[in-house]
Amino acid sequence: MKDILIRTENLNLWYGDKQALIDITMEVPGNMITALIGPSGCGKSTLLRCFNRMNDIIDDCRIEGSVFFGERNIYEQGIDPVEIRKNVGMVFQKPNPFPKSVYDNVAYGPRVQGIEAKKNLDRIVEQSLHDAALWDEVSDRLQESAMGLSGGQQQRLCIARALAIQPEVILMDEPCSSLDPIATAKIEDLMGELKKNYTVIIVTHNMQQAARVSDYTGFMYLGKLIEFGETKQIFESPQEQLTENYITGRFG
């Protein structure tokens, strides 16, 4: 295995009385694509949102256990989730560009971090749009509203927006679920490029997608991490009966 970047230890999470994550312990290697798969409601999105403490904004959510980024436990007392989120980009299920121009969408993160100089911003915006494979399509309409882009373009814009804060990790929560096959193919190609510089964790419903793009795969079921390993191994010789049932389509 390669260098471990993120490590969870006995992570438990409750929404009110309902336990959504049970004793999750796993290690996510750096500069790889890790996929989380499993049936609806198994907790894969919840787990993903633990990596940038997005669950903090849900009122009755309670978390025990730790998530280490390198040596640092991001759930330690006194750690500001805002600081964490600057190092972790996130792409959501439905494209959610702000109702602002393309430029302002990408520049949002850097501006929030205090970068004001036009020259710097221009450079970051162009670079991020390039990296998200969107530059050629929008370079002539940076000042137009992002709401006018197609669904696939909007999602790549959201990726560009996440890249602009120069994160180490990018979390993707079913990024292709609302896109058509062509747009999906573009995003998948993009992921391959991204792993050169970033660590990507993707939640997906689509097993073929997990098999196509990821290096490591975790299979979750009813809040538990059933099996975690190299994608090839998970799909070709799963160790657990549950995993095998799921990937052979016997349930889910």
């Binding site: 972790v88 980009g89 702000f98 929030v112 971090q113």
Partner: protein, 664 residues
């Protein structure tokens, strides 16, 4: 096919035919009820314009609008009368601007607090506070303004009289606050969660997210909220006339305490003095037309903006999430807690006086943050952002504290002083010595009779209109016109209803000052509320139920009667009770149509005049001098507030049961 047809037409031809007939007649009856709003709007416009015509003809529209002297009483006091409405118009604008300067920051701050910052617990206390502010009758605000606010201004600023511009603006600010808060809150809540999450995920703080994403996205809704607040302020009559001093002067920025006379207060004050058929009276109708036009423009522009938002939200394929109507439902439990907390807060703040407390709070916040800044020697941007956030939230929270404190002060005064006045005798005997002695029994009964009659009139009409709108038509031109009628009627100031009632029922139909005239005037006023709440209730019945019934061979009307109406009854009743609560507190519509002061007996028929709690409170406060009158005014105010609050609580209770029993 053929077999079935012949069988049907042979076996039950009569039944089918009569069924068809009922179906048709039901449809037409419902259509007629639906047109009442539109007819009323035109009737109001027609009668007001007709009565205003002589003055416009004599003075010319332009001179009437721009003349800078309003001295219509010259006609009877023997000096040259002047009919320039500009001072009244300017006063209305000035008072409204003053009110907005206070109300907009407080209202929007409170809206942000409720929707973005507060925890569920705090929210469930603050929301009822805002709803309660909206529920207090305007005559009670006026009473509070006159006995507390005006005196406070007089003493604090050492002026001859506290009555005037500033007092009216402060009072109007409190009254417009709930409108602004609730509409702005809706707008902020409608901002998709994904926007906020997107921003937070990029490392923005909550405040940065609010400032840069949430508020800009909700901007048009917030604008509409402000416009609606302006409409509320411009149309308000009773509270304003009680504290504004009523002199038709041009407002001057140098004198914030000067007495003024607004469009509404001119009508309310002078209509009783102007001789019947005089130019003076025609002039007041002219003023009413002017008022109506302004309010229509204001309301139409806010409807337009809100409509645009709706369009945007439904047009973008992103979301069609149905939002639960933001009634006070979930907060009901915490109402008691909220009220107690608010009263305690009000007492505290009143004792130390608002200003001092706020200064101390801001001072403490300043020192605290400054200290933090020094001790931690911030290098990190996150900490700076967090500090900005704390300061911003501090300001927003103090806006909420001020709002809650205002309600606390009002409730505290009325409860403490009113409780002292209330006794068994007070509740059960007629007034003596101009209300200084005796009780308010005829006023309590009179108010119940008035609102009872109003709802008896409005409920069938409103339900009919709502059924027609939801069940019998597709959205199109006709529904648009009917809805526009209801919308305009909803925005029409209560004093205009009063004037219309006087012109049409009292004078034109010759009913005289009578209970019936008051009941129907109030009924017309609450009609839009009944229509809207009934429509909501009908729409909440799933479409599948209707299809199920129709597929079993039931006619449309049978389906409505047996399947659609029964489950929507609780919703309709909630709307009816809310309407009763509103009608019970209104003064302006019964001012010239139904109400009398001090009367020993109850009315014998619907053509007798009647006493009413809000009117009694109004006259006691403004026309009867003496400490006894003030004590009894407190008692009357408390009874009125309790009555209205009781009705709202009943509405909440019904709503809650309804939600529990609803299975879909």
């Amino acid at each position: 096919m053929i077999l079935m047809d012949s069988k049907k037409s042979g076996a039950v031809p009569l039944q089918k035919k009569s069924g068809r007939l009922t179906e048709q007649s039901v449809k037409y009856t419902l259509f007629i009820t639906a047109t009442v709003t539109v007819v009323t709007i035109f009737a109001i416009l027609f009668f007001l314009l007709q009565s205003a015509y002589p003055i416009l003809e004599q003075e010319g529209v332009w001179n009437f609008l721009t003349g800078s002297n309003w001295k219509p009483e010259g006609e009877i006091y023997g000096f040259p009368a002047q009919y320039g409405a500009l001072p009244l118009l300017a006063a209305s604008v000035a008072v409204t601007i003053g009110a907005m300067a206070l109300s907009v920051p407080l209202g929007i701050g409170t809206a942000i607090f409720i929707s973005e910052i507060a925890t569920d617990r705090i929210r469930s206390i603050i929301k009822p506070v805002v709803e309660l502010l909206a529920g207090i009758p305007s005559v009670v605000y006026g009473f509070f303004g006159l006995v507390i606010l005006v005196n406070w201004l007089q003493v604090s600023f050492d002026i001859a009289s506290g009555e005037g511009w500033l007092a009216a603006s402060i009072l109007l600010a409190i009254m417009a606050l709930p409108t602004i808060t609730s509409v702005a809150e809706d707008a902020i809540k409608a901002v998709p969660r994904e926007f906020k999450e997107g921003s937070l995920a990029l490392g923005a703080t909550k405040w940065e997210t609010i400032k840069k994403v949430t508020i800009p996205s909700a901007l048009s809704g917030i604008t509409a909220a402000i416009i609606l607040g302006i409409g509320r302020a411009i149309g308000e009559t009773m509270a304003v006339m009680m504290v504004i001093g009523n002199s038709a002067l041009m407002p001057s920025l140098k004198e914030p305490f000067m007495p003024l006379k607004t469009l509404t207060s001119a009508i309310a004050v002078e209509m009783g003095e102007a001789p019947y058929g005089s130019m003076w009276q025609h002039g007041l109708y002219g003023v009413a037309v002017l008022l109506l036009v302004i309010v229509f423009i204001v309301n139409i522009s806010s409807t337009f903006i809100l409509g645009k938002i709706k369009e945007k939200h439904t047009a973008s394929k992103s979301r069609k999430k149905k939002r639960v109507s933001p009634l006070l439902v979930q907060q009901a439990k915490h109402l008691g807690k909220g009220v107690i907390g608010v009263i305690v807060l009000g007492v505290l703040l009143y004792l130390f006086s608002i200003v001092v407390i706020i200064l101390i709070l801001v001072g403490i916040a300043g020192i605290w943050t400054a200290k933090k800044a020094v001790v931690r020697r911030i290098a990190d941007r996150v900490k700076i952002a967090r500090m900005t956030e704390r300061i911003a939230f501090g300001f927003i929270t103090s806006a909420v504290v001020v709002t809650a404190a205002l309600l606390g002060i009002i409730l505290y005064h009325i409860t403490v002083n009113g409780a002292a006045a209330i006794s068994w005798e007070f509740l059960t005997s007629p007034p003596r010595n101009l209300g200084r002695e005796g009780g308010i029994f005829p006023a309590i009964v009179g108010t119940l009779l008035l609102v009872g009659g109003a709802i008896t009139f409005a409920l069938p009409l409103g339900m009919g209109a709502a059924i027609y709108l939801t069940e019998y038509t597709r959205e199109g031109k006709i529904t648009k016109i009917i809805r526009a009628g209801a919308e305009l009627l909803n925005g029409t100031p209560s004093i205009v209803f009063g004037l219309f009632g006087l012109t049409f029922f009292v004078l034109y139909l010759g009913w005289g000052i009578s209970m019936l005239a008051g009941q129907i005037t109030l009924g017309l006023m609450v009609l839009p509320t009944v229509i809207r709440t009934t429509e909501e209730a009908l729409k909440s019945v799933p479409y599948g139920l209707r299809e199920g019934s129709l597929a079993l061979g039931a006619t449309k009307w049978q389906t409505i009667k047996k399947v659609v109406l029964p489950p929507s009854i609780p919703g309709v009743m909630t709307g009816a009770i809310l309407s009763i609560g509103r009608a019970a507190g209104e003064t302006a519509p019964i001012l010239f149509t139904a109400a009398v002061f001090s009367q020993r007996f109850l009315p014998n028929s619907v053509f007798d005049p009647v006493m009413a709690l809000p009117y009694h409170l109004f006259v006691l406060t403004t026309n009867v001098p003496g400490a006894d009158a003030e004590t009894n005014a407190y008692g009357t105010a408390l009874v009125l507030v309790l009555l209205v609050a009781g009705l709202y609580l009943a509405a909440i209770a019904i709503r809650n049961r309804y939600i529990k029993s609803m299975k879909w």
